[in-house]
């Protein structure tokens, strides 16, 4: 067999795999989804994955909301990367989000690049890639798209909505926008709005992408190229914000990468440089650059108080009936404890049912994805208590 045939077979195989990943729902069929920017989406795709079984009463559903660079493959093995799902430590049989007990749903966000309608997909009206023609989206748009997915699945009320970082923003939006559909909410390592510093970091990431010549004003897919340098730099910057100074220090210190001495050049002399380069290069293999622009923008625009409370956070929460468990991490400087505390204060002001724990950790923002026994204990306890109150029987 010659090499060309080989690579063609491989391409065909890849296509088959990517068509056969997870589940998808076509939504906005009868009625379009009206986006915050004013655009309407009809017949859009919501890719999602489920773990466990929905019970007869449809009361055991937990919606897991993923973060900026996450996807619907939260548990088990991610069929695309072949690696464990991003929250496999938490989701699974006998784990905290026990798939023997709960029905776990995780949807690729609107605007994402893992099957849901987004800039990487084809615009059915034009037959071309959406690219920058894709309408601007918000966290609220993502949540309303997820609500349509639940309608399609016949689930009226979620036992719990849970997520970290941008996932936590969706959790907050869910509880406020759909108070009747959420019994318990766990926003982790998140904030009620994006701070100036967070917007600033995102802006640097976006500039890196847009400065890449291969970005082609967003038309790179049409022109068959890819702004991988720009996207990699964006990821490298963001990755620093997900860690903490002590975590970086412990992991790398000033150790050199595969060399005895500094080289007086600009290759990766230090291990930390090599690590970041690796993070950047693996990210571009799985993520769409335009998607990155759209999603970071949605996070920047997120402001729960502005949207639902005329600028007053407590007003946004007035009338919520959800039980909240707010969790933050001591070394998270991207979404600091003070931001979580602001949510707690606002919830107290309307006498909502809220628990709040700050977990001591040196792992930075990413702590919610990693092994953190104290965090897991709190999460387990909260879910047990909530399940008991919701009348979910023990497995």
């Amino acid at each position: 067999m010659n090499n060309d045939a080989d690579s063609q077979n491989e391409k065909a195989a890849n296509k088959m795999v990517t068509q056969n990943i997870g589940k998808e729902a076509i939504l906005g069929v009868d009625e379009p989804l009206l986006l915050d920017c004013g655009a309407k989406l009809t017949n859009f795709t919501q890719a999602y994955q489920t773990y466990g079984k929905l019970n007869a009463d449809k009361t055991n559903a937990i919606l897991v909301c993923h973060a900026l660079s996450g996807d619907q493959f939260a548990g088990d093995i991610n069929p695309i990367s072949g690696k464990p799902g991003w929250w496999h430590l938490v989701i699974g049989s006998g784990k905290i989000l026990d798939t023997d007990r709960y029905f776990i749903i995780c949807a690729n966000i609107l605007g994402g690049c893992m099957g849901s309608t987004g800039p990487k997909e084809i615009n059915p009206d034009t037959g071309e890639y959406w690219g920058l023609q894709f309408p601007g989206i918000t966290i609220s748009d993502m949540v309303r798209a997820q609500a349509l997915l639940l309608d399609a699945l016949g689930i009226d009320k979620l036992f719990c909505v849970i997520g970290g970082s941008m996932g936590g923003m969706q959790v907050l939006e869910w509880a406020v926008a759909f108070p009747d559909r959420v019994f318990a909410a766990v926003p982790i390592a998140t904030a009620p709005h994006h701070s100036a510093q967070n917007i600033a970091f995102h802006e640097v990431g976006r500039q890196a992408i847009m400065a890449d010549q291969d970005w082609k004003s967003g038309d790179y897919l049409k022109e068959d190229c890819y702004p991988q340098r720009g996207l990699a730099i964006a990821r490298m910057i963001a990755h620093i914000t997900y860690l903490s100074e002590p975590a970086l220090q412990n992991k790398f210190g000033r150790r050199l990468q595969d060399r005895e001495a500094i080289t007086f050049g600009f290759d990766a002399d230090f291990q930390v440089e090599s690590y970041l380069r690796y993070q950047g290069s693996t990210f571009v293999e799985r993520f769409d650059a335009n998607s990155y622009l759209y999603i970071t923008r949605a996070m920047d625009y997120f402001d729960l108080a502005e949207r639902h409370g005329n600028g007053i956070l407590a007003e946004a929460f007035r009338g919520v009936r959800t039980r909240f468990c707010i969790i933050s991490f001591t070394s998270d400087w991207l979404y600091q404890t003070a931001e979580s505390r602001a949510v707690v204060k606002a919830l107290n002001a309307v006498a909502a049912n809220v628990s709040f724990a700050e977990i001591g950790s040196d792992k930075g923002h990413d702590a919610f994805l990693l092994e953190e026994p104290e965090f897991w204990k709190v999460l387990t306890g909260f879910l047990e208590g909530a399940a008991d109150k919701y009348g979910l029987t023990k497995k």
Partner: protein, 209 residues
Amino acid sequence: MTTKLKKLNLRVDLQLIAKMVEPGSRALDVGCGDGALLDYLNQEKKVDGRGIELSSDGVNACVSSGLSVIQGDADQDLDDYPDQAFDYVILGQTLQATREPHNVLQNLVRIGKRAIVSFPNFGYWRVRAGLMFIGKMPQTKTLSYNWYDTPNIHFCTITDFIILCGSLGITIENGIALDRVGRTREIGRAGMRFANLRGEQAIFLLKKS
């Protein structure tokens, strides 16, 4: 009138507090520690309970056992709550550790239709005798710290407390003095001096006048 309390797993003063709480009510326990009282109220009286606790160990233990508890403190975080949000706001053995007990008390009766407050009584005879005969800052079962490392910065006697409530416009609906072996005595007008001498700690049911 004295009654001897039967031994439950709950601390005696917490048992007395629990007795004052109506079943099925909403309660906020300020300084809830490991959540023992909240847990008891939840289990035995179907109370919709919330807690505030200063130590993160306490908070995490509470949330881990399914209780709704936030990390915070009585001086700073009570201002956030709306008026009359709870049937009861409980402050057990914490008043003496607050920076501004008078403001805390006012917040308690504002947030709760009723407040339940317990504190160690500095008028207890052993405390007085300790100062009088040994000349050292007193250490008892409920006041077990050294003077230099104690979190208890605002001690008062039962009499002091009653006077403060009067000046803050707080009505005392019920007062109980608890002695060293768990005997209780109602604090009435007549028996106040005696209660102030015999009570190692006191528990009061309060409301805004």
